[in-house]
């Protein structure tokens, strides 16, 4: 059944899209300027800033490290977060609300405070394992996103379907994979995506825990801005926007789940 969309609605949507997307175009335009410093509108045309950024070992190292860190943190957050969400939604346990409040507290406490507290804790423990510290620190702030998202999807699962499958003879693992999984998959995927993005973009936790050998891309960007505010900054910003778009496309194509569905 086709629905007609009024021209006024189309115009309003177009204006909103323009307002949302226009700021993302600005760094791209600044990144092609053939000047030694950032100007807008751009002067001349060059792609050399992209070449410099892509060939820069520091930028490459930070980007790859951020990918690695975000990947590990996402995996750990899912491994810890899914059972936690199941427990919180399917079972009544003493102090359940308190447990949930503790898990979600990193969303309330300023991250910069969480970061310095973690540094103090690791120092007291005598830990020098930077990578482990960063995985723990990032997991602490990513876990709430996974648990919120996965909990919501488990709450919405139709328990009648599980009962029907069980009554018809389906063993528990079949109920889990054929009945529950299709219903909770968008929520788990959404939790994973949020976790990846929160870790990939994190500055305040990394600022306290990182070192020269473990230097994620947000810290690198900050130092580059301090070094020189030239169009390579805009080139990095453009590449990160492109990366985010690619991530969305990959999720939609590979996992077959649209962002609209995850958001709903």
């Amino acid at each position: 059944m086709s629905e007609t969309v009024s021209p006024i609605l189309r115009i309003v949507v177009a204006i909103i899209l323009l307002i949302v997307v226009a700021p993302l175009v600005v760094p791209f335009l600044m990144s092609i300027s053939d000047t030694a410093y950032i100007v807008f509108p751009p002067q001349g045309f060059t792609l050399k800033w992209y070449g410099e950024v892509l060939a820069n070992p520091e930028a490459q190292g930070s980007f790859l490290f951020s990918l690695e860190l975000a990947g590990i943190v996402t995996a750990v957050s899912l491994v810890l977060g899914i059972p936690c969400a199941v427990g919180l939604t399917r079972f009544r346990t003493p102090g359940q609300d308190a447990i949930l409040a503790v898990i979600l507290s990193p969303l309330i406490v300023p991250l910069i405070v969480t970061g310095v507290a973690l540094l103090q804790l690791f120092s007291m423990l005598g830990s020098r394992a930077t990578m482990l510290q960063m995985v723990i620190g990032h997991t602490v702030i990513c876990l709430p996103y996974v648990i919120r998202s996965v909990s919501a999807s488990f709450v919405l699962v139709n328990r009648n379907l599980e009962d029907a499958a069980a009554i018809l003879g389906a063993p528990p693992h079949v109920v889990a994979t054929r009945v529950i999984w299709p219903q909770v998959r968008p929520g788990i995927l959404a939790g994973g995506v949020f976790s990846f993005i929160v870790s990939f973009d994190d500055y305040p936790i990394s600022m306290w825990l990182a070192d020269g050998n473990h230097f994620p891309i947000p810290l690198y960007l900050y130092t580059v801005i301090e070094r020189s505010f030239d169009p390579s900054i805009a080139a990095i910003a453009s590449l990160m926007i492109l990366f985010a778009l690619l991530l969305v496309l990959v999720i939609e194509k590979v996992f077959g789940v649209s962002l609209a569905r995850m958001a709903s």
Partner: protein
């Protein structure tokens, strides 16, 4: 405009290092074998200074001493925070901070006095940059007004309060150290006294600060970004910022430069301190000594366009355009270093007042 290009300078430095290494390595290997295999973690600055330390100074030091130095880029307040958080079990051995924080670190027992006997390079340090043995300066910037080159800057700070500058000024954020310099300027303009006396009159000068509000377009907390915005003509004048953030753009040909009003300018001293209870203290001391060596200081200064705290370095006339060096030149320009102990005790209150005035 200077002919100094960072990239070409890097090549020169790398070339020089490559040439010197075969000569220095055998002797250095024997002389510094005590440091072999040891590791220290240091907190450095970001920006071009951090870039040079990471890419040039540390690799050469590691090669000469057979040790490992892991740098962590940050800024003064974060570096002090890291020392506080790890005070009971120090993680860092050397920290780079601004002179403003040295009295705080000393009072909190975060740092220790330098072992003079183990640091021969201290012999060339100007006494004023020794901080009673609690650290040394590494680079001196001039903090002053900066402006778009299409604008004629005022000869005196007092003129900035005139209506003709309405909405044409960018002011440094209260969270940045140069905002203290601005408060001293306001006190000096109000009282007519020199900076040395005006710094003690800041409490009575916030009405003068508020009077400038109509002329302020916005506040900035990132020097390089502010330099870029002034170069683009978003505002005419910025006050105040360190030359190390402005002159690299001037040298690149951007239409922005610094000016030095009649009241004087300020010294921005980037320093190094030795963390109390530092892991591998001997390597830390050797690294701090290396930072002060003449060859390192010359290259560091030319790269970051800051003045060295040690005597006896020759610079080209082109480079000297951007540096207040030697110490006689600093005195000639009236570079003023505030009484940080007095200021630190009052700064949080002043920051609140600034925030109230500018509603940040």
């Amino acid at each position: 405009m200077t002919n100094i290009s960072r990239r070409s300078f890097n090549k020169l430095t790398l070339g020089a290092t490559a040439l010197a290494a075969p000569l220095a390595a055998p002797m250095g290997f024997v002389r510094n074998s005590w440091a072999a295999g040891k590791e220290i973690q240091i907190g450095i600055w970001g920006g071009s200074q951090g870039e040079f330390v990471k890419k040039e100074i540390i690799p050469a030091f590691e090669k000469d001493f057979g040790c490992k130095v892991t740098p962590e880029e940050g800024f003064t307040l974060a570096n002090v925070g890291k020392m506080r958080a790890t005070k009971d079990n120090p993680k860092y051995s050397v920290m780079f901070i601004d002179d403003v924080a040295i009295p705080i670190c000393k009072a909190e027992g975060l740092i220790e006095q330098l072992p003079k006997d183990d640091m021969p390079a201290l012999a060339n340090l100007y006494p004023r940059f020794g901080f009673d043995g609690w650290g040394t300066a590494l680079a001196i910037s001039v903090a002053s007004m900066f402006h778009n080159t299409s604008v004629t800057p005022p000869a005196s700070y007092a003129e900035l309060w005139k209506p003709e500058y309405a909405g044409k000024l960018k002011l440094v954020s209260p969270k940045n150290t140069p905002s203290v310099f601005f408060l001293i300027v306001a006190a000096a303009v109000k009282s007519g006294k020199p900076f040395a006396e005006a710094q003690y009159l800041i409490d009575d000068s916030f009405d003068k600060v508020a009077e400038l509000k109509p002329n302020i377009m916005n506040l900035f907390d990132n020097g390089p970004q502010a330099a870029n915005e002034i170069a683009q003509g978003q505002a005419d004048i910025g006050l105040l910022e360190l030359s190390k953030y402005i002159y690299p753009y001037t040298a690149k040909g951007a239409p922005v430069t610094m000016s030095f009003p009649s009241e004087g300018s300020f010294a921005g001293n980037n320093c190094q301190v030795l963390v109390k209870g530092a892991p591998n203290r001997d390597v830390a001391v050797a690294f701090m000594n290396r930072m002060l060596e003449t060859g390192v200081q010359k290259a560091f200064s030319e790269y970051a366009l800051t003045a060295p705290p040690v005597s006896g370095i020759e610079f080209s006339a082109e480079t000297l355009k951007y540096l207040a060096y030697p110490v006689e030149e600093m005195d000639k320009r009236g570079l003023f270093t505030p009484d940080w102990e007095y200021i630190n005790a009052r700064r949080s209150g002043w920051t609140e007042k600034m925030n109230a005035i500018f509603a940040v």
